[in-house]
C-alpha cells in the first residue's frame, strides 16, 4: 500500500449529491477527494426520471418543500442552461379519477405561484377536444386536462459536470473505487481505505469524511460505528428509444398513484414504481409484474402504449429517510445532514434522503456543516456559478456541424452533452466517423470521453455520451466503440472483446423484462450482429 494522500475532505459517493458536495467544497478552496465505487451517477441518480422538478405533489404535505425545491430547481436551470430542456405535461382527467378537473386545476393554480422561481410557464386548461388536438393519442374518454411544465436533464451529464468542475478546482475524483473501511483514531474518523479500479488498496487521510452514498449510506455509516436508518424504495422505468409524444403525460395507476410518461430529448421514460426494498442494493432486478403495472396505467390514458417497442428498463433505489407506517408514496423526499460527533465518530458527516432536484441545496448545506467543523469561512457560490459548458450560449448546431464535417443533428446532440464546450470536444480527434448512428456519436467524442471523462468501460460510455442508448440498443455500435475506447486505453484484442461481452450481458439484464411483448426482431438482429459475444 502506498503512503496515504492527505485532503481536507473525503466525499464517499459519486451520485449527484456527492459530486455536488465535491464541487461546492472545491469552489470554497478546500482540497477534496471524491470516491465512487461504480461510475459517476451510475446508481440512484442515473435511474431517476431525469427531471429537475418542483414537486407539486408536496403541496398536499408541505408547501415549504415545494418552495425550496422549486427555488433550487431554478438555480440548477440557470447554472446548467445548456443541459436542460422544457418538459410539458398533459395531465388528462378521466371519469372516476381520484381528482376531478377542478381540483387538478386548483393544484396547478397554486403551483403556478412557484413556477417563476424555476423560470417555468403557468399551466393551461384544455377541454377534451383541445387535449386531443394537442395529443391525438390520448383516450377519447377524457373529460379535460391541465398542463404543467418541468425541466428535463441528463443526470449522468449533470453529475459529470459537477465532477469536472470539482477537478478543475483542485479536487481528486476517482470512479470505480470502492471504500472498504474508515481509518479511525480513537473517537475520530481520520480517513478512508479504498480499493482502486486496478484492485490496489490505498489509504487517504481527511479532516472530514462525508458519507453521500445514497442508499448505501447505512453501509458506510456502519464502518464508522454509526447507525443511519433509511427506508429504501425501489423504482423502475420503462425506456422507449423515441419520443412517443412531444408532450409528457401523467396517468393514475390502479392503486391511485401518479405515474409519468416523460418525453426527453430522444427517448421516453415511463415510470415509476415505489416499493419498499430489502434486497441487495448492488443487484436490483426489474420484474415483469412491475412492467405490467406501469403499462396497465398508461393504457387507460394512452391506449396505443403497448404497440410501442421499449428498448430497456432502468431500476434504482431511493435513499428515503426512515419512517414507520406510511405508504411508500407518502414518504417525504426531505433530507438530513447528520454530524456523527455525538455518535463517537468526530469528523464523519452523513447526508441522507433528498432528491435530484434539490441536490445543489443538499450539497450547500452539507458543505456548510463541513466548513463549520473545519473553521473554514468561504461562501457557497454554486447557485450562480455556471457548470462547465454552460458559461455561454451554444452556437447554431448547423454552423458547428458544417465547420466540423458532421451533420447538424450530430452537432446538436454533442451540444446537449457538452454545451458551449462542444467545439472543443472535437479538437482532440478530428474524426467525424459515426460510431453510434442512433444517438449519434462521433469517434472524436468517444475519444474525448476516454481521454478526459474517465470512461473506463462501455457502460461508462453509455452514461457519459449515450452509447447504445438508441433503438438498436448497441447492435450496430458496441464492437466499434470497444475498438475506439480500447485503442485509447491500450486494451488488447481480447480485452476489447471482453468489454463488449460485458456490456451486452449488462444490457440484456435491463432488456429481458420487456422483451415478452415486442422487440424480438431487434433482439434477433442484435444476437446476429454480436454473435459469439454471448458465449
Amino acid at each position: 500500500m502506498s503512503a496515504p494522500s492527505a485532503h481536507d475532505v473525503c466525499v464517499v459517493g459519486g451520485g449527484v449529491t456527492g459530486a455536488g458536495i465535491a464541487r461546492d467544497l472545491s469552489l470554497r478552496g478546500l482540497s477534496v477527494l471524491l470516491l465512487e465505487k461504480g461510475d459517476w451517477g451510475g446508481g440512484t441518480t442515473g435511474s431517476s426520471s431525469w427531471m429537475i422538478h418542483g414537486g407539486p405533489r408536496y403541496l398536499e404535505f408541505d408547501w415549504d418543500t415545494t418552495r425550496l425545491s422549486t427555488q433550487d430547481a431554478g438555480y440548477i436551470v440557470s447554472i446548467a442552461r445548456n443541459m436542460v430542456y422544457r418538459v410539458v405535461f398533459i395531465i388528462p382527467v378521466l371519469p372516476h379519477d381520484r381528482n376531478n378537473i377542478e381540483r387538478m386545476e386548483t393544484a396547478m393554480e397554486v403551483y403556478d405561484r412557484f413556477q417563476p422561481l424555476k423560470k417555468a410557464h403557468p399551466h393551461t386548461r384544455l377541454t377534451a377536444e383541445e387535449a386531443l388536438q394537442a395529443e391525438p393519442g390520448l383516450t377519447p374518454e377524457l373529460i379535460g386536462a391541465v398542463t404543467m411544465e418541468e425541466w428535463g436533464v441528463d443526470p449522468h451529464r449533470l453529475v459529470f459536470a459537477n465532477v469536472q468542475d470539482a477537478i478543475s478546482h483542485g479536487a481528486r475524483a476517482l470512479n470505480h473505487t470502492r471504500v472498504v473501511g474508515l481509518v479511525r483514531d480513537g473517537g475520530k474518523v481520520i480517513g478512508v481505505r479504498y480499493r482502486g479500479s486496478d484492485g490496489a488498496m490505498s489509504e487517504a487521510r481527511a479532516k472530514v469524511v462525508v458519507n453521500a452514498a445514497g442508499p448505501w449510506v447505512p453501509e458506510i455509516s456502519r464502518m464508522a460505528g454509526a447507525d443511519v436508518r433509511l427506508r429504501p424504495a425501489k423504482g423502475i422505468h420503462i425506456v422507449y428509444p423515441h419520443r412517443i409524444s412531444n408532450f409528457s403525460i401523467s396517468a393514475e395507476s390502479i392503486d391511485g398513484r401518479d405515474l409519468l410518461m416523460v418525453s426527453h430529448a430522444g427517448f421516453t421514460l415511463l415510470g415509476t414504481t415505489d416499493d419498499d426494498f430489502y434486497g441487495d442494493l448492488d443487484s436490483v432486478d426489474v420484474l415483469e409484474d412491475e412492467v405490467d403495472y406501469l403499462l396497465q396505467a398508461f393504457e387507460r390514458v394512452f391506449p396505443s402504449i403497448r404497440s410501442y417497442r421499449p428498448v430497456r428498463t432502468t431500476t434504482g433505489v431511493r435513499p428515503t429517510l426512515f419512517k414507520w407506517r406510511r405508504y411508500e408514496d407518502e414518504l417525504s423526499r426531505r433530507y438530513e445532514v447528520i454530524d456523527h460527533a455525538h455518535d463517537g465518530a468526530e469528523g464523519f458527516v452523513t447526508i441522507a434522503g433528498g432528491k435530484l432536484s434539490m441536490y445543489r441545496l443538499m450539497a450547500e448545506q452539507t458543505s456548510d456543516v463541513v466548513c463549520r467543523k473545519l473553521g473554514h469561512q468561504a461562501p457557497c457560490v454554486t447557485a450562480t456559478r455556471p457548470l462547465p459548458g454552460n458559461e455561454a450560449d451554444v452556437e447554431p448546431a448547423a454552423e458547428l456541424g458544417r465547420r466540423s464535417g458532421i451533420t447538424a443533428l450530430a452537432a446538436m446532440k454533442l451540444q446537449t452533452r457538452h454545451g458551449s464546450n462542444a467545439g472543443a470536444v472535437l479538437k482532440d480527434s478530428r474524426s467525424g466517423r459515426m460510431i453510434c448512428r442512433c444517438e449519434p456519436i462521433t469517434e472524436a467524442e468517444l475519444v474525448h470521453a476516454a481521454r478526459h471523462e474517465q470512461v473506463r468501460t462501455l457502460a461508462d460510455a453509455f452514461r457519459r455520451v449515450g452509447l447504445a442508448a438508441g433503438p438498436c440498443a448497441g447492435a450496430a455500435c458496441v464492437l466499434r466503440a470497444a475498438g475506439v475506447i480500447g485503442g485509447e486505453l491500450d486494451w488488447s484484442a481480447s480485452q476489447r472483446f471482453d468489454a463488449a461481452r460485458e456490456f451486452v450481458r449488462g444490457a440484456w439484464l435491463g432488456r429481458a423484462p420487456i422483451l415478452g411483448r415486442s422487440g424480438w426482431a431487434q433482439e434477433e438482429l442484435a444476437v446476429g450482429s454480436l454473435r459469439g459475444l454471448g458465449n
Binding site: W63, E102, Q133, A134, G137, N246, G266, M412
Partner: protein, 131 residues
Amino acid sequence: MARADSLAKLAFAYGVHLTRRRLTRPRSQLATLLETYAADGIRPLLPEERARHAQLIGCINCGLCALAAGRVGKVRLPDLASSYMRLYARLGEAASDVDGDSPDLEAAAAACPVGVPLGEVAAIVRRLTAG
C-alpha cells in the same frame, strides 16, 4: 402541522377557484399552450401521424434500406428512421441535413424487414424540420 396547514390552504384555493369559474367565462387556452412552447419545438403530431406512429418509429437500424436506396439529403436512410425520428422537439435545427434529393423510398421500404414506411418517415421528418 405542515400537512394540516397545506390542506387548509389548498381548500381555500379550491374555494377561490370554484368562485372564479362561476364568475368568468372559460376561454380556449390551446393556442396559448402551442404558442408558448413553439420555440421549444413542442408541437402536436397530426392525427394521421399519431395513428401510424408506432410503425413509423419501428426501425431496428439493420441498414438494409441504405443498400436499397441511399440518402435523403445528407442523411443515410437508416439514420432518418432510427435517429431523426427519435427527436422531434429540436429537429428544426437540423433542417440543412435533409435538404436535397430523395432516393427511391418505395424500394427502400420494400427492403425493410420490420415494415417501416420510409416515405412517410421522410415526410414527417421534413415537416418537423421545416418548423
